[in-house]
Structure formats: structure tokens, C-alpha cells
């Protein structure tokens, strides 16, 4: 019997209305309408909090994309986070998935997953400041450790202009490997063991089995995860904002992404001028980048599939 049949339609009608309409209205009001408003604001030169709005058309966008070197640099940083970060995170996560899915002990498997997920549950402010403690060139644990291992020659000022982007990236990689590992392992666990048995009889190595059996079968979850990473990475804010103790000065330009630059332009307490029209333009560019990257990724991922099979 199909609950969707005619007989039940009437009984469900009111329920559907009550369940969806209010939430949908709230959702549209607080999440979709603001996108339109943001676009509207972005057409004006507007300091906010006053009615003094000067219409500039797409002027903010042409300034942002062609004149504002600082903003262009933050776009580049955002793209670096998503690409380099993605390559490192998914590369490492896949290697760990390969190794951990071969563990015999379920408890060990669970324990490692749990431990590696922990950074994802911690406030980004705590992690941002904690990571700068760790990398502090004078008393941080990392340089201490290098000294103890007798490798003093590889000590570097990890928080200087030259290395700070890498330092920031290392934090993001360390956090997110644990997140995606949980998803990959769950997908790998769902593969029936029988699929591996014939390969084992043929004497295939564990690596070969991973590449030919596991990897193709967790494709879906990898694709979902990459989309999630694109969404996560553009939104990253707290880790960068609290890096180097953040509060004493604005975050250094070398690690700033669009999200941070937008906040500093729109609400940054140190900037005396609130440029809300301009900041709204950044918000629209941010949204477009996320949408475009997800679209491009899904196209590419589908094409490679077509070639493979």
C-alpha cells in the first residue's frame, strides 16, 4: 500500500502544510532574502547605519576585482586554501583510510577515528591561538621538539611572513583529515568482504585491493566530501581570526581569506569606516565562487567517471 495514494492524500495535506510552510517561510526570510539584499546593498556606496546610499551600479565589483589588490590577494588565498588544502587533506585521508580499513581490531579503529575527530569539536578560537603557541619560535613546543631531536637546523620562524601561510594550512589539514576520515572509513566499512576474497586468492597486495576495489566503491562519499570541503574552506574564519593572538592586530594579509577581509571591511572594529556596500559585494563574490567551484568539480568528477568505465 502506497501512502502516497489518493486515499491518504487528504489526510496528509494539512500535515504537509503545517510541517513545511512555516519553516520554509522562516528559511527564505532569514537565508534567501538576505542574499538578494546583499546584492542590492552591493550596488551602493554605503557606510551603513545611515540612509546616505549612493548608487554605483556594478562599481563596487569592478573595484573589487580590478583595483583592490588587497582583496584580490584574499581571493587568491581562499583559492589556495581550497586547492592546496583539499589536495593535502584528501591525499592524507585516503592513505589513512587505506591503512585503517585494514585494521583487524574494531576498537583500535574506533579509537583512532575518535581521537582524530576531536579537533573538529573544538572552538576555532582555541585552536587558532593554541596552534600559534605551538609554533611560537621562542618557546613553542614545535621548535622545542625539533631541538630535542637534534634537528635544530630545520628550525624556522614559523609565524613570520614567509612561513605563516603554511603554518595556517597545517592547522586546517590537521583538523579536517579527522573529519573526512570518519566519512571515508564508514563508506569503506560498507563494502562487503566477499569482494576482497577473490583478489586475496590471486595474491593481490593490500594497496592494489585498495586502489581497485575500495577506491572506486567509496567514490560517492569522496565526491560528497570534496563538495563539503569547498563549502567549509571558503567559510573558514575563526582559525584565521584568532591566529597570532588575533586580537592585538588584524590578521596578517598573508593568511587572510575573503571571509576575514569581508568582516574587517564590514564590521572590523579597527577600521573607522564601515563600508557595507563594498563588503556586501565581497559576500556575493564569495557565494559565486562557492557555487562555481562546486559546479566545476561535479562536472569534472562526472567526466572522469565516464572515461573510466
Amino acid at each position: 500500500m502506497d501512502p502516497r495514494s489518493e486515499m491518504y492524500k487528504n489526510r496528509y495535506k494539512n500535515f504537509i502544510l503545517v510541517a513545511t510552510v512555516p519553516v520554509f517561510v522562516f528559511y527564505v526570510t532569514f537565508m534567501i532574502v538576505p542574499i538578494g539584499m546583499s546584492f542590492f546593498y552591493s550596488l551602493f556606496d554605503w557606510a551603513g547605519f545611515t540612509s546616505d546610499m549612493e548608487f554605483v551600479g556594478l562599481g563596487n565589483y569592478s573595484s573589487l576585482l580590478f583595483k583592490d589588490d588587497l582583496f584580490r590577494r584574499t581571493i587568491l588565498n581562499s583559492l589556495k586554501y581550497v586547492f592546496y588544502g583539499g589536495i593535502l587533506i584528501f591525499g592524507i585521508t585516503l592513505l589513512f583510510t587505506y591503512r585503517i580499513s585494514n585494521f583487524k581490531s574494531k576498537r583500535l579503529k574506533d579509537f583512532i577515528q575518535m581521537l582524530m575527530f576531536v579537533p573538529n569539536t573544538i572552538s576555532p578560537v582555541a585552536l587558532g591561538i593554541g596552534w600559534t603557541f605551538l609554533l611560537n619560535p621562542r618557546w613553542g613546543a614545535f621548535n622545542n621538539l625539533i631541538d630535542t631531536l637534534g634537528l635544530s637546523s630545520i628550525k624556522r620562524p614559523w609565524l613570520s611572513e614567509e612561513f605563516i601561510f603554511g603554518s595556517m594550512m597545517s592547522l586546517l589539514v590537521w583538523i579536517h583529515v579527522g573529519f573526512f576520515l570518519v566519512m571515508f572509513l564508514a563508506a569503506a566499512d560498507r563494502i562487503p568482504y566477499s569482494l576482497y576474497e577473490s583478489a586475496q586468492l590471486d595474491g593481490a597486495s593490500s594497496w592494489k585491493m585498495f586502489m581497485t576495489i575500495t577506491l572506486p566503491l567509496i567514490r560517492d562519499i569522496i565526491s560528497t566530501s570534496v563538495v563539503m570541503w569547498i563549502i567549509f574552506s571558503f567559510k573558514i574564519f575563526g582559525y584565521i581570526f584568532a591566529f597570532i593572538g588575533g586580537a592585538a592586530s588584524d590578521p596578517p594579509v598573508s593568511i587572510r581569506n575573503i571571509a576575514v577581509q569581508l568582516y574587517l571591511t564590514g564590521f572590523g572594529k579597527r577600521t573607522p569606516l564601515y563600508r557595507l556596500g563594498y563588503a556586501s559585494g565581497m559576500g556575493i563574490i564569495l557565494l559565486l565562487l562557492v557555487v562555481i567551484l562546486i559546479y566545476v568539480f561535479q562536472r569534472l568528477f562526472r567526466t572522469t567517471e565516464a572515461i573510466e568505465f
Binding site: M1, P3, R4, Y8, R11, Y12, I16, V18, A19, T20, V23, F24, F26, F30, M31, P34, I35, S38, Y41, R99, I112, M114, M116, F117, V118, T121, I122, S123, P124, V125, A126, I129, G130, L134, W139, A141, L145, M183, A186, A187, R190, S205, S206, W207, D220, I231, K235, F237, F241, A242, A247, A248, A259, F267, L276, I284, L286, L287, V290, V291
Partner: protein
């Protein structure tokens, strides 16, 4: 153990994995031990244990800097927001997972697309909307923002669960004359319990660590959440050079969420992946 040459990738990755885990534990241990030191001892290097294991740092940040208050605020805001997310998302997720009605694919698409909206794109207009309805700098305001921005992902997870539940029981209830609402409340909700638990845990963790919305929408000190409170603590302690206090502050923020997570990890991991895997 028998070493086999063809298995070399396994050995290399084992070493990497071991290093990763040791490093992770090491970071935690170092932060923890340092939080008991004085600022001077921290500067003397990490192998030196604290001369005196005192709770001074903790007392200082909890009492003088009100970290306890921020924690209380977070606990309240996040708990209410998590409940609200469930109340808002469960009926919608059920309807979208099980029933077809005019525009249902469109409604589903709208909600799922919401997952991709960066909060930065909408918080400037939201600020003015919230100001208009006098919800800036209020608990109600931040709870509402946390709830509504979490709804799309919660719906996405819950739909996965509802789809995995067999339809027979629900149909039996309908034949017995139950209303749709009764079938939902009495049959579907109990069966979706694992999904409800894990999506609640997810929303709880994500809003507990949320920082940016709090930064924009809360400025009164007595209403700050834990992330925002820690941030203002950083500002103040950096000026006084009180690094030891900051270590204690970081530990105080890290420990409760870590303990909470360890307690619920089993439900969380199985649930989250079941929900995502289905769609």
C-alpha cells in the same frame, strides 16, 4: 609479523599514521601541562614540568575574566538552539523524505542549497533584519540565528534517516485510522531516534564552537558565548602578557567539548555517516 615486500605502502602509511597520532596526543598533553605553569616557566621550555601544580591560572580566568559566565551562556544558547533545530527540521525532513506533493522537489532543492550559503554572504543584511526586530545582542537573537542556519544541514541528515526506515508500520497505523500527525509523532519519531540523536549532536557541536555570528551579533560582555569570550580573553591577556592564563583559558574551552564528544562519539559517528551515505 612477517614482512612482505609487496606490502611496503602499508608500512610507510603505518609510520605516518603513528606519527600523526603521537603528534596529536603530544599537542594536547603539552597544552594541558603548560596550563599549570607560570608564564615564566612556559618561557623556559616545554620539558620543564611546573614547579607547582596549582590551579591559579584556572581560578584567574574563571573568576576575574568571567570565563565561567561565557560557558554558561553557551550551554544555554546551544541547548535551546539544538532543540529548536529539531523541532523545525524533523517534520520537514519527514515530509520531504516520504511524501510527494506539488513543488516538493523544488522545496527540497531550496533547503539543500542552503547548506552551501556562506554565512558571510548573509550576515550584513541579517544584522539589519535582526536590528529591525530588536534581536541584536539578545539570547533569543543568537539562538534563532544558530537554529535557522543549522536547519538545511539537519534536514539533509534527517532525510537520509527517514528514507532508511521501512514504511510498513506507518502504513499499518494509517489503515487503523491514525492521522498523519499521529503517525509521525508515535511511529516515525521513535524509529528515527538514532538520526535525531546524531543530528542533535552534530548541531550541538557545530554551534558550540561557532564564533563568527556571535562576533557580529553579540557585543554585550554578559551575553558572550564561549568562543567569543575566549577571544576577548585573548585581547586582555595579550596586553598583560599573561600567557599562562591563556593556556588555562584554551584548556577550559577544549576540555568540556572533548569530554562531551568522547561520551557521545559512538552515536555520533555511526549516525552522521548513515545519514550522509544515504543521499
Amino acid at each position: 609479523m612477517r614482512l612482505r615486500l609487496s606490502e611496503w605502502p602499508k608500512y610507510i602509511v603505518s609510520v605516518l599514521l603513528l606519527l600523526w597520532i603521537v603528534f596529536t596526543v603530544f599537542i594536547g598533553a603539552w597544552l594541558l601541562v603548560s596550563s599549570f605553569k607560570s608564564t615564566r616557566e612556559i618561557f623556559q621550555g616545554m620539558w620543564k614540568l611546573p614547579s607547582q601544580w596549582t590551579l591559579d591560572n584556572y581560578v584567574r580566568v574563571l573568576k576575574d575574566f568571567g570565563l565561567a559566565r561565557y560557558m554558561g551562556n553557551s550551554l544555554f544558547v546551544v541547548t535551546v538552539a539544538t532543540l529548536l533545530v529539531q523541532v523545525l527540521s524533523l517534520p520537514v525532513a519527514y515530509v520531504l523524505a516520504r511524501l510527494r506533493f506539488p513543488f516538493s522537489p523544488f522545496v527540497l532543492l531550496c533547503f539543500i542549497a542552503g547548506i552551501a550559503i556562506p554565512v558571510q554572504t548573509i550576515y550584513i543584511p541579517l544584522y539589519f533584519i535582526m536590528k529591525e526586530i530588536s534581536l541584536v545582542d539578545t539570547y533569543t537573537g543568537i539562538i534563532w540565528l544558530y537554529a535557522i542556519t543549522s536547519v538545511p544541514f539537519a534536514i539533509y541528515l534527517l532525510i537520509g534517516f527517514f528514507r532508511s526506515i521501512p514504511t510498513t508500520l506507518e502504513e499499518a497505523a494509517l489503515i487503523d485510522g491514525a492521522s498523519a500527525g499521529q503517525a509521525f509523532l508515535k511511529i516515525m519519531l521513535p524509529m528515527a531516534r538514532p538520526g535525531i540523536i546524531s543530528s542533535s549532536i552534530y548541531v550541538f557541536i557545530m554551534t558550540w564552537k561557532e564564533f563568527e555570528l556571535a562576533l557580529v551579533f553579540l557585543s554585550l560582555d554578559e551575553k558572550k558565548t564561549i568562543s567569543l569570550g575566549l577571544y576577548s580573553l585573548i585581547t586582555r591577556l595579550t596586553y598583560t602578557g599573561d600567557w599562562a592564563g591563556l593556556f588555562a583559558g584554551v584548556i577550559l574551552v577544549v576540555v568540556p567539548s572533548t569530554i562531551f564528544y568522547i561520551l557521545v562519539a559512538r552515536h555520533f559517528i555511526s549516525g552522521i555517516t548513515a545519514g550522509i551515505g544515504k543521499s
